[in-house]
């Protein structure tokens, strides 16, 4: 108190001299210059294509790629395609959701083990988690096709223990598609979970134990709530691409397991029905956006950050 009142009258007499500093206006602009490359990239490769997608979804469906489409503001495209393809859309949400839950269960245990129990092997284990990325997504999914093939050892083993009938198979079943999704998106779950769990101060868990929490109670009262930011970002990073995925359903499933991605792809490339494909893409995007907003609200993670 006394120090500040004593210093106050002196302060105006000796203004701070900063001869080398650039003027304030110039410094303010630096931030915008740094933003520029990213903004340009997004403008060219996101904003323009997005505009074109919105436009395509409203074209007149009677046109064709060769003759061109007329802009008809056909909002009915949305109802018609939804009517035609609601089954694969629901199936996608169901497969993606289930794959996300399985990823969460597997990934949480794995991330927890790496963060808390791996000691000096921590870095090696993290490298192993991302090691699959060194091989192409397509090649890895094709190898799963080999693993799950009708006479393969997995099918034989499951038949041997009677989990699968003698003529039962894995390929072309929902199990195969969901297993493929889980395998392919697991690292996207593990990495954010690890980042969250690794940050948790061990002494908090000790404190819970000191305050009469058995390990399981301590986990649900301290570790789990503190790892929620990782759970939220992990589930989003898994769910969003999993719902839109078509490779797994294409390679490991049959037409019965078609997901919305397969439908959109075939509408674009086989049926050449651009407006329908565009409308379906838009609907998928809006649906996921709505679900994500609802989810983030419910998880209440903004309080944690």
């Amino acid at each position: 108190m006394t120090a500040s009142t004593a210093a106050a009258p002196i302060a105006p007499a000796t203004p701070p001299e900063q001869p080398d500093r650039p003027p304030a206006r110039k410094r303010k602009l630096t931030g915008y210059w740094l933003l520029l490359p990213g903004m340009l990239w997004l403008a060219v490769f996101f904003v323009i294509p997005f505009y074109s997608l919105v436009a395509t979804s409203l074209y007149d469906r009677t046109g064709s790629v060769l003759q061109g489409y007329d802009m008809a503001w056909q909002f009915s495209n949305y109802w018609h395609t939804l009517d035609d393809y609601w089954r694969p859309l629901v199936r996608s949400l169901w497969y993606g959701g289930l794959a996300t839950l399985i990823c969460l269960a597997l990934g949480y245990v794995l991330a927890y083990a790496i963060a808390f129990k791996s000691g000096r092997w921590k870095n090696l284990m993290l490298v192993l988690v991302i090691a699959p990325f060194f091989t192409s997504f397509l090649v890895r999914t094709l190898s799963w096709k080999l693993l799950l093939r009708d006479d393969g050892f997995i099918v034989n083993a499951l038949q041997f223990v009677h989990l699968l009938g003698s003529d039962g198979r894995l390929l072309a079943t929902p199990v195969a598609v969901i297993a493929g999704l889980v395998y392919n998106f697991l690292p996207f779950m593990v990495l954010p979970l690890f980042a969250s769990i690794d940050k948790i101060d061990h002494r908090l868990i000790e404190a819970a134990s000191d305050l009469y929490s058995r390990p399981i109670v301590g986990f649900f009262k301290v570790t789990w709530p503190l790892s929620l930011p990782g759970v939220v970002s992990g589930t989003l990073l898994t769910f969003i691409p999993a719902v839109g995925d078509y490779i797994n359903a294409e390679l490991l499933g049959s037409p019965k397991q078609r997901m919305i991605g397969n439908v959109i792809q075939s509408l674009f490339t086989d049926a050449n029905d651009y407006p329908a494909a565009g409308a379906l893409s838009m609907m998928l995007m809006l649906l996921i956006l709505a679900m994500v907003l609802f989810y983030v609200r419910r998880a209440g993670t903004e309080e944690l950050l």
Binding site: D201, R203, E206, A207, S209, S213
Partner: protein, 392 residues
């Protein structure tokens, strides 16, 4: 062996010690032994401090009492019940952690209520409010820990542990993260709360001033063993080892030769001057001709002009030359170079009755014999001198 002699002293239930009793507690880590066969009795209701430099094993001892570390061998008893192998969540012991370890996702109210909720207490709300009142944080209940100041977080940590009425409250360097001024007021605050609630506090610290301010009993730990235990004044006035003499305050240690016992004193030849040390302050076998350390606290050393009478019955030691003078305000600190080359520290209260000595002046020094202490010459005279983070 001694059980026969002790038996008549305790009538009724023998062995049910009211308090914390540690016997031959040892903790070995892969590369070193942190705690070596430690014995300790902490009476119920006392404020006990484990004082020592970092790495002396005091925190490990505390963590073993809390159950957060498993002992290699030995036993820990609480009110006669063996808790050595009990899980931490089953012990009637709570900890105030270093840096507090408050739950960042819970508000202050829920942090304090945490232990009670786990034990399904029915009186949560009333107890939490009482406890928050005790630590003067009633107005902060719905804030999160990061929104509070260091001192407030400290009090939340204290409340969170205290509310469970543990048989022993453990405090692990609880004030280490606070600045000096706040530390002082929290020391008084914690002492007040301890007196108010009457629980047993075991306090781990490396700050000797903090230990002396707060504790009834201090155990000075060094390299896994307790060097000396007792009331703060007792430890300060009559240290038994060079480590305690140097770690708790400052000491002048002068090399002497033992001349032998004489009545209630041990006579030593101190660089040509004979001096006597009371027998109860002698912590070495008085073997004639052996070397030893005479210790004297700087504020007990008297300083005077050459030939002037000194208010001390013993001989004055001549030939000193003032080599350094620091005027502190309340006192003046001198370094006096003695004829045998050693520099003796002398603190003199600034009573204003006498002028200051100047650098280079010839002086005599002396002290009352009952203030000196005699220590084993095999011990390192500089043990405990290099204190980490010593308060100025």
């Amino acid at each position: 062996m001694s059980q026969v002699a002790e038996a008549p002293e305790k009538s009724g239930d023998v062995g049910a010690y009211e308090g914390l009793r540690i016997r031959s507690l040892t903790k070995e880590f892969a590369s070193f032994t942190a705690v070596k066969s430690l014995d300790l009795d902490v009476p119920s209701g006392s404020f006990f401090a484990l004082l020592g430099p970092s790495g002396c094993g005091k925190t490990t001892t505390l963590r073993m009492v809390a159950g957060l570390e498993t002992p290699t061998s030995g036993s820990i008893e609480l009110s006669g019940k063996d808790i050595t192998w009990d899980k931490p969540y089953r012990r009637p012991v709570n900890t105030v952690f270093q840096n507090y370890a408050l739950f960042p996702h819970l508000d202050i109210y829920e942090n304090v209520a945490f232990g009670l909720r786990r034990r399904k207490s029915k009186e949560v709300d009333r107890s939490v409010r009482e406890m928050l009142q005790l630590v003067e944080l009633e107005s902060q209940t719905r804030k999160r820990p990061p929104q509070l100041s260091g001192g407030q977080q400290q009090r939340v940590a204290l409340a969170r542990a205290l509310i469970n009425s543990p048989e022993v409250l453990l405090l692990d360097e609880p004030l280490g993260a606070l600045d000096l001024k706040l530390r002082r007021s929290m020391q008084i605050e914690i002492k007040r709360i301890q007196t108010e609630v009457g629980l047993t506090f075991v306090h781990v610290t490396h700050d000797q001033e903090e230990a002396m301010t707060m504790a009834d009993t201090i155990a000075v730990m060094n390299q896994g063993v307790i060097e000396q235990m007792g009331a703060p004044a007792e430890l300060y006035d009559n240290p038994e080892t060079t480590f305690v003499a140097n770690f708790l305050g400052q000491s002048n240690l002068i090399e002497v030769e033992i001349r032998g016992p004489e009545g209630d004193f041990v006579v030593v030849d101190m660089q040509g001057t004979l001096a006597s040390i009371p027998t109860q302050r002698t912590h070495v076998q008085p073997t004639v001709g052996e070397k030893a350390w005479v210790g004297i606290r700087p504020e007990k050393v008297l300083i005077a002009e050459v030939g002037a009478s000194i208010d001390a019955p013993g001989n004055s030691i001549p030939g000193g030359v003032v080599s350094d003078v620091s005027f502190i305000g309340v006192s003046t600190q001198y370094l006096v170079r003695m004829p045998w080359g050693q520099e003796i520290q002398v603190f003199e209260q600034n009573t204003g009755r006498r002028r200051l000595f100047r650098q280079g002046e010839q002086v005599d020094i002396s002290w009352h014999p009952e203030y000196a202490f005699l220590l084993d010459h095999h011990q390192d005279a500089s043990a405990g001198v290099d204190k980490v983070d010593a308060p100025s």
